[in-house]
Amino acid sequence: MTPDVFLFWFLALLIVGSGLAVLLFTNPVYSALSLAMTMVGVAAIFITLNAYFIAGVQLIVYAGAVMVLFVMVIMLFDIKSEVQAFTSGKISGAMKLIAVGLLSGLIVGGIIMGQKSFVGELSKDAAAQVAEANSAKMKRAAGADAATKELGVALFTKHIFGFEALGVLLTAIAVGTVALARSRGGTHAK
């Protein structure tokens, strides 16, 4: 077992375990902490996948900003412990679990079975070329910096429109949430 493999299994267990913890802890604060743990785990996974920049962003945005937001809101609500953490309907609960289980089964099955033909047949022609070209690029920018640079270039050329649109989105959200807070019945209503 190489370190890579070990790392993967460790992180996978960490992520799944803390993910389950989010689900299972009845105290929302614990859930939030578990979520933070998951986020960190995911960031680590990103690193194992050579996505350093994204891993950083993940830590900053998620584990940092978003988690703080969650915790703040939990504090704001001031809920100590929950009486009914889970839905109570037996049939609906069972159906939910079955649905979720089947879905995971389907996806996993799809992944495993799809993999057989994946990269193999279909990508032989079109996708393989893309992959080759990409890998060439990747190799050119061997180090982490180079990869990040590549990312930056793509972001500001190919995906510039989406990026700008994100800007609009954030602006709108910022104004909107403030407006919501100030609206009638909001936290900062006049």
Partner: protein, 643 residues
Amino acid sequence: MDHSVLMAILLLSPFIGFLINGVRYKQPTYKLSGGIATAAVFISFICSVLLFSDLVGLPADQRKIHVKFFEWLSVDKFKVDAAFYVDQISGIMILIITGVGSLIHLFSTEYMHHDKGVTKYFSYLNLFVFNMLILVLGDSLLTMFVGWEGVGLCSYLLIGFWFTDKEKAAAGMKAFITNRVGDAAFLLGMFILFSTFGTLNIQEINSLAPTAVETSWLGALTLGTMFLFVGATGKSAQIPLYVWLPDAMAGPTPVSALIHAATMVTAGIYMIVRLNPIFIVAPNTMMVIAIIGALTALMAASIGITQWDIKKVLAYSTVSQLGYMFLAVGVGAFGAGLFHVMTHAFFKALMFLGSGSVIHAMHEEQDIRKMGGLKKYMPITHWTFFLGWLAIIGIPPFAGFFSKDEILWMSFHSPMGSPVLWAVGALSAGMTAFYMTRLMCLTFWGKSRVPKSVHPHESPAMMTIPLVVLAFLSVVGGWIGIPEVIGHTFGHIPNYLGDWLAPVIRPIPNLAPADHSLEWGLMGASFGIASISAFVAYHFYVKSPEIPGKIAASIKPVYELVFKKYLVDELYFKTIINPLVEISRKIWFYIDVNFIDKLTYIIADLIKGGGGVTRSLQTGNVQVYAMYIAIGLVVALSIIIIK
């Protein structure tokens, strides 16, 4: 005058009378209304006479006056004209209709004078004459059918004339609907004839009629004539559709005289006579006609013996006499049938009018048990009625004798006839004599049983004049058809009627030459039967009035059955009408309400139930909604993968 003008006046005069009286239907002026109506029919009568005389003037084989007014209906090959023609047969009929008709109109003027609806009454009566004329003159079966239904309609209106009485209204309805059954069959008969001959024109049908006899029961001619005959049983009150006629006495008495004795009810015979070329080649139909006719004659006569209502007795007598006529045409003696139509029109109209006179005098009393000894109060009525009585029971040389005798002879002699038919006919003749004598005795003779409050009196002249005229006709009416056997004996008196009709009537095939001695013998036998029954009746009801009651008591069940008219009405109600109403209710309830509608409700409820389900699925819980998404995802993915 031009024939078409004459024909138009003949037809339209009563119609205009109907319109005039119809428009002023509320007026209670009986003299004016009656005058208009009588004049209208009388004008028709004059036209009839003129037309008839023109007809007489023509050579024997061209005796036909045909007038076409316009093309009535034409679709593809089916063409019917509004055309009318007078020939030997219809010539006699229009004379009877307008002649007897005007007399009855005259009679009605006085008879109905106290009635508020007198003008309406006369308008109906005129309308009836109009329709009757269309019936007899129409040159195609469809035109005939117009009159056929038209007279039924007038009959309905006149039977139900006093509509505030539920029973009378019901009687009218019964008449119409019973007639409709026949009419439906008539329609089918027409369809078959049209399919066979491609035309409904009576002359064309007659000329196209094959000479070969059709033996099959399901042949077109047999079937067609059979349906036409069923139509005739409706109109002419034969078994099984006779039930309406006794009830039809609910109408005013002159109506009974005109419609239900003299004219309308003979339409069936008239139709068969007119179409005799196709009937004669359908022996199966002929046999059925003869049997039905004989049975009707017998049955109606037997009922007539037991009835107490003066008009009912006459009504059953009419049914019985009509049976005779059918017996005649059934054995192929079309001329004899028509002859009896004529004589019957005279004496039966006379007797009905006489009974009307009596009823008038008795203040609307119709039960003969409350009469008796009226002879001295109303001599003219009595004597005219007496002559009519002689005519109907077949005393020579009164009108009824000749016609009835010819029928009986032909039913024996014709190859289509048989001794059984003769015996039945003779038996009913005896019964006829019995009950008519009974009627005479109970009404006019014997002791008076008139209640104290009623003061009978002779009717005014306007009512007695028609009686006298009809009485005269009842006496002499038969002389135009003196049979050969008698004619020979008393010098060479020709059979005018027979000769007159000869060109339009197909001779009976395979008719053997008459055996004169046999004919005399049968004549004597029937006369004997009639006289004896008349005498017995006289004895029963005048000499020793207690006997009939005793006899009735001794055969009570039979008497009851006969008195209740063999329970035929009840049978019809029980087996046809009530089940029909019941079935209607059931199908309405089970099919319409509980099946079709229910089915739609079930569909609607299913949809609404579905709505309820969606409603209950919409719990408001967002996690349940998410679950729907998840389930949808799972199911969709499964299907996508499996396919």
